[in-house]
Assembly symmetry: C2
Homo-oligomer: 164 residues x 2
């Protein structure tokens, strides 16, 4: 959704947001950053995205303040972390859309309860921040065999560096 010049005529904060995260692959890169992926080679292994595209998208996310570049790693900023409800809600919607089994499940680390589609912990009633979420593999059959996918078959706290 690099919306081109017509797009600037849209008086809408959604349009502004889509300028940053609406391009092809961008939200999948953001999702991976939530999962703890930080290195270029790991994004590439997990996403099968052409190098030039990945490089462009990562740079744009850095420019927009969604990711910080620290040495060789891309790290989620607080502004980026605020995208979690979008990534989570859209993913859960995708599950319902296809009636598919989830590939990943999200649990509140402090109480072990599975988080609702709206991002709340049903036990605590609170919106759970990504840092307080543990990612576990779901029942959806996963076909990928890259190092990141393999590492994500073990429980993993979101945003903690994933080092395959």
């Amino acid at each position: 959704m690099a919306l081109g010049k017509d797009y600037t005529s849209q008086d809408c904060s959604l349009a502004r947001a889509l300028e940053v995260v609406g391009e092809r692959w961008t939200l999948l890169i953001v999702r991976d950053a939530f999962y703890g992926v930080r290195r270029f080679s790991d994004f590439r292994a997990h996403l099968d995205v052409p190098k030039a595209v990945l490089s462009d998208r990562l740079q744009k996310l850095v420019d927009a303040g969604v990711l910080d570049k620290e040495g060789h790693e891309y790290v989620m900023t607080p502004m980026g972390a605020d995208l979690w409800p979008v990534v989570h809600t859209l993913g859960r919607w995708g599950e319902r859309l296809h009636g598919s089994l989830p590939y990943r499940l999200f649990f509140h680390t402090s109480c072990g309860t599975r988080i609702e589609a709206d991002g709340r912990c049903p036990a605590c009633g609170e919106l759970v921040a990504p840092r307080d979420i543990e990612l576990r593999p779901g029942a959806g059959s996963e076909r990928r065999d890259d190092p990141v996918s393999k590492r994500l078959r073990e429980p993993h706290r979101m945003l903690e560096p994933l080092r395959p």
Copy 2:
């Protein structure tokens, strides 16, 4: 984000969702449908999107079960209405991203309270469904002068047909 053939290798419900709503313009069309836009000519007036693109995107949304075609109108389905938290959260994120004043404000019709960025009514504590939200113009300066934009300068209940 028509993600192409590589994309099918992504074991991810987010990727499935993006197949439906990730293409250029699609989420802005969905936003307009929440605002009550139903007719091709009104989407076109408000979005300045080429006819062929709009036609393609609307058909894909119908095929995916996000919109229903009723005569000459495109009407949000319950599956489509479930996208509201995504549209709302991403829009509010876009406001924070640019520190811009909001173009639209969202109020809970039953109690008149402004809805939080996470989609809850702070007075009632509940996630508010789109049907229970009134849209009002915000302080963000709007430059557009098409019939839909003009009509949206008056309070309007979401999903109710907007007939400029």
